[in-house]
């Protein structure tokens, strides 16, 4: 489904649901980022369900990002209990939704890089055990153009032989804290460059040795080319299995030794 269609559908859901929500859920707390688009974000991306601004959801990104095709973002919602889903979005991006992740047994934390088209609030909304979206964010100033710049892959065909190639490595940071850094070769074309259709990783999941799922991700076009993810969990000494695919049906599976 195209992103505008996805947003439109979310909007419909929001309109349909709005009558059933307690008025207090929409208590109009001022957007700390003072964005003219916040109401649309709340209704569209968050489906109009209850949302609160919550500093416990941290979005770390440079205030001034020189490279709008590779803006580093770290989302940390580990201060909240039982986070089921986190959605990351950028109010002023032509494609608003960046990714969603479902921490499952991993920490509610994700590092990655995003393409930004212009200066924008960059937000993460974490849905916790209370069913409410807890929204954090920060403003990123950038020269812009990140979504309409051709991918580096567009300049040559070399990437084709390495598409979906995975490299990854685990670091044991503490007795109960393991970090995975994962890189997947993919152009992540936005579809906003003339003649180059949207071509992006769609779903990625990570399982432990016993098949237990650590985290699932749904990725959209704004995730930067050749995505690199930072993920943390409490399962030391395991060979992880990472599987995924893109919106053209190319699948991959890779094992990452401890």
């Amino acid at each position: 489904m195209s992103v505008p269609a996805r947003l439109a559908m979310s909007l419909l859901v929001a309109l349909g649901a709005s009558g059933t929500l307690p008025a207090s859920a929409f208590a109009a707390a001022a957007d700390p980022l003072a964005s003219a688009r916040w109401e649309e974000m709340r209704r569209g991306v968050l489906g109009g369900t209850a949302a609160v601004f919550d500093a416990q959801v941290k979005v770390l990104a440079p205030a001034n990002a020189e490279n709008p095709t590779q803006v580093p973002v770290t989302v940390d919602a580990t201060a909240l209990a039982d986070v089921a889903e986190v959605v990351v979005f950028a109010d002023f991006n032509p494609i608003v939704e960046v990714l969603r992740f479902y921490p499952e047994s991993a920490a509610a934390l994700l590092g990655f890089r995003v393409k930004l088209q212009q200066s924008t609030p960059l937000r993460a909304a974490a849905r916790g055990a209370d069913g409410v979206w807890h929204v954090g964010g920060s403003w990123v100033n950038t020269v812009g153009g990140g979504c309409t710049a051709p991918s580096a892959a567009a300049a040559s065909t070399a990437w084709q032989s390495r598409l979906n190639e995975v490299s990854g490595r685990q670091w044991q940071l503490g007795a109960e804290r393991v970090r995975l850094r994962l890189r997947v070769v993919h152009p992540m074309d936005t579809g906003l460059v003339a003649g180059t259709p949207s071509f992006h990783l769609d779903d990625v999941e990570l399982r432990g040795a016993s098949g237990e799922r650590l985290m699932r991700l749904r990725l959209f076009e704004p995730v930067a080319e050749n995505p690199v993810f930072t993920i943390e969990y409490r399962a030391p000494g395991q060979t992880l299995v990472c599987t995924g695919g893109d919106n053209n049906g190319n699948r991959f599976s890779a094992r990452i030794a401890p």
Binding site: R113, A149, A155, S167, R169, L173, E225
Partner: protein, 316 residues
């Protein structure tokens, strides 16, 4: 990708100062006499902004028997014109050649002021100006505002190669190197003993790295340091920062790049995320270096992805 990379190269001052520049857009260029018949214009130790108009770069000229060789043309048409006026006040001889040391915009966007003269550069520099020049110019308009009025990229008209160049009755040694960019030309004036090092050497200002290959850059620095040990050497004009009478800016540039490379590799090997790398403190030796904090952050963006790739690829 290529386009914005170029646009982003020089951009760090995203928040522009509110104060307006002098209405006359006068760079107040002063020709410093480095050695007999060798001159330099020394820019500020700053980032591009609407107050300095992009005058953060060093340019220079050599007065030969039959004419003048100009080295780099500055960030704008206005700069190039003002530079040429000052040169004319020093010598009535004609400019016979303008050399662009490399393809970064503060070194060639004054070319239009020398459109009636031969303009030379390494082939790699000419290609890079052809592909990236417009984006560079756009970016400097954004950063420097009206100082840029009328500025358009103008391609060099002739390609230069390494070796001796007899021009204007003067013998120049052209040293074709790389590392700061894919093509960096250093110019050694054998008569005066002045080395115009371009951006291979920074003095008292953190180096910039948007097109850097640090290992290649080290080799270039070694070659320049060897030259500075030769008997005729008198002075070094770095691409940015003060004139030096010895190799100390070469060692300073090498020290920064060595630390930067080691630090990024170590961070990638330790599994740090780019945001964690960005927030690391500078070592004491570099804390007071002008624009060190902003150049470090820019360099993380330019160089960390490769360090990270290497650390991840080697895991299996």
């Amino acid at each position: 990708m290529i386009r914005w990379l170029c646009a982003g190269l020089v951009c760090c001052a995203l928040a522009l100062p509110g104060a307006a520049p002098a209405g006359d857009f006068d760079y107040a260029l002063q020709a410093r006499n480095v050695a007999p018949d060798a001159y330099a214009f020394i820019g500020r130790d700053e980032d591009f902004d609407t107050l300095n108009g992009g005058n953060i770069v060093n340019t220079g000229f050599i007065v030969g028997r039959d004419g003048i060789v100009v080295i780099d043309s500055g960030p704008s048409l206005r700069y190039g014109r003002q530079m040429r006026e000052v040169i004319a006040s020093v010598s009535a001889l004609p400019v016979v050649l303008l050399i662009n040391t490399h393809h970064h915009p503060d070194h060639f966007l004054g070319n239009q002021a020398f459109a009636d003269r031969p303009i030379g550069a390494l082939p790699g520099t000419v290609q890079a100006i052809a592909s990236d020049g417009d984006a560079f110019a756009e970016n400097l308009y954004r950063l420097c505002g009206d100082w840029m009025k009328g500025t358009e990229p103008l391609l060099p008209t002739t390609t230069l190669r390494a070796g001796r160049l007899d021009v204007a009755g003067r013998s120049l040694r052209l040293i074709a190197l790389a590392g700061h960019t894919g093509a960096d030309l250093a110019v050694y004036d054998e008569t005066s003993g002045v080395l115009f090092a371009g951006d291979l050497v920074f003095n008292g200002r953190a180096p910039t790295t948007p097109h850097a290959d640090i290992d290649v850059w080290f080799k270039a620095l070694d070659e320049l340091e060897a030259l500075s040990d030769s008997p005729g050497f008198v002075a070094l004009v770095p691409g940015h920062g003060a004139i030096s009478r010895d190799a100390s800016p070469i060692r300073q540039t090498r020290a920064w790049l060595s630390w930067l490379q080691a630090s990024l590799r170590e961070a990638a090997e330790a599994g740090l995320d780019m945001n964690e790398v960005l927030t690391r403190a500078l070592p004491a030796a570099f804390v007071a270096l002008p624009v060190a904090a902003s150049e470090y952050r820019r360099s993380v963006g330019h160089l960390f992805p490769a360090a990270e790739k290497q650390a991840l690829d080697h895991a299996h």
